[in-house]
């Protein structure tokens, strides 16, 4: 039951993008097509899960046991940067077309604050144990992918809409995101 609560809360109620404001750069950057959005979502699911597990172990067995918790920011970001590099190398071999499509945004997962943010929330703010952290990371990443794909779908439709001149492009995207966030607020009753 506890795990179901973590999952629902991370996907819908405290959605990383729409309620915690993490990972907005890829949210606006790769959301022009559903297909690239789904690819980005998949990459983030993988990176976020592995990053949270690794940073949890680092925090517990190295930072806390040596009493150097103030090194947290530096160690976490380095681990995440290395992981992203790994995913990039794998993706280049396995799926060159997806690698092309994600372009600059793949190295930018390093600076996707959602990955670092979720890792810090799991070990510090919430103080989850290893299994809960993993569940939380997977659910958060699914929440990220979900909102990214929905938003990409909305933006594809928006291309066809007749938008006032000044609102074209970025402004209307923000307002759409606001309405989406409003819709996700409706879930806040269920937790």
């Amino acid at each position: 039951m506890e795990y179901i609560l973590i999952i629902i809360s991370a996907i819908f109620v405290n959605n990383v993008v729409l309620s915690r404001f993490l990972g907005l750069c890829p949210f606006f950057g790769v959301s022009k097509q559903v297909e690239t959005a789904a690819g980005m979502g998949g990459a983030v699911v993988f990176v976020m899960t592995v990053a949270t597990i690794v940073t949890y172990l680092l925090q517990k067995y190295i930072l806390i046991s040596f009493n150097i918790e103030y090194m947290q920011t530096i160690t976490f970001i380095l681990v995440i940067a290395a992981l992203v590099q790994l995913v990039e190398i794998i993706l280049k071999k396995v799926s060159p077309s997806l690698y092309q499509a994600l372009g600059i945004f793949l190295p930018l997962i390093t600076t996707n604050c959602a990955v670092l943010g979720v890792a810090i929330i799991a070990v510090q703010t919430e103080g989850y144990d290893l299994i809960k952290s993993t569940v939380f990371a997977i659910a958060s990443a699914i929440g990220f992918a979900l909102s990214l794909v929905i938003f990409a779908g909305l933006r594809e439709q928006l291309e066809l809409a007749d938008v006032p001149e000044g609102m074209k492009g970025v402004p209307i995207a923000f307002i759409t995101a606001g309405l989406l966030a409003l819709a996700f607020m409706g879930f806040s009753g269920i937790a």
């Binding site: 404001f21 750069c25 606006f28 530096i74 970001i77 600076t111 604050c113 606001g178 309405l179």
Partner: protein, 196 residues
């Protein structure tokens, strides 16, 4: 490019938030009030200026292939300094900004300036660039925070403007997106008029 232009481009023509759309997470996440936005903006400015200085000093020593991790370590060191200082001297603001202080390290604005400007320019220009970009970022955050505070809680910088509580939605998540959308539309309009 002259020095004045390097400094002022961060405010208008290349404003991080309104034009380049960098550093959106802290922009939306911390601007529930004008003072929070300003605090976040100044913390980011400090990190940006310091990392620009160090990057421009060591740019010749860093091999091209490992420059991004090297930049990140430099930025992360200054973020840790800001984090510990804020925790010690302004704990109230530290508690409000919370998670977003360690997240300054992944603010694409800072890495972006290190990569695009400081690694190619000398130290004086890098400082000016960092200051201009950082203050432009602070300005955008303060504006967004002020609008959200006025609409959402009827005050600005904690000074009451009108009676009542305002519409809570502007302090919550959806309001952040909607207000920033309209602000960007407004800035676009201003720029278009200037070009004509």
């Amino acid at each position: 490019m002259n020095k004045l232009k390097i400094f002022t481009k961060g405010f208008f023509s290349e404003n991080a938030v309104f034009v380049m759309l960098l550093g959106l997470c802290p922009t939306l996440g911390t601007t529930t009030s004008a003072i929070n936005g300003l605090g976040m903006g100044l913390a980011t400015t400090f990190v940006l200026v310091m990392s620009n200085i160090v990057v421009s000093l060591v740019k010749k020593q860093i091999p091209d292939k490992v420059r991004i991790p090297a930049f990140i370590v430099i930025i992360a060191s200054f973020v840790t300094i800001v984090e510990l200082t804020m925790q010690a001297y302004i704990p109230d603001l530290y508690d409000v900004l919370g998670l977003f202080i360690p997240l300054i390290v992944v603010n694409c604005l800072i890495l972006g300036r290190a990569e695009a400007f400081a690694s190619k320019n000398n130290i004086i220009n890098s400082v000016l660039d960092g200051l201009g970009m950082g203050l432009g970022f602070s300005m955008a955050l303060t504006m967004l925070g002020a609008v959200r505070e006025i609409l959402g809680s009827g005050s600005v910088f904690n000074i009451k403007i009108y009676e009542g509580d305002g519409a809570l939605v502007f302090v919550l998540a959806p309001g952040a997106f909607i207000v920033l959308g309209y602000l960007i539309a407004f800035v676009n309009r201003l720029q278009k008029r200037k070009n004509i």
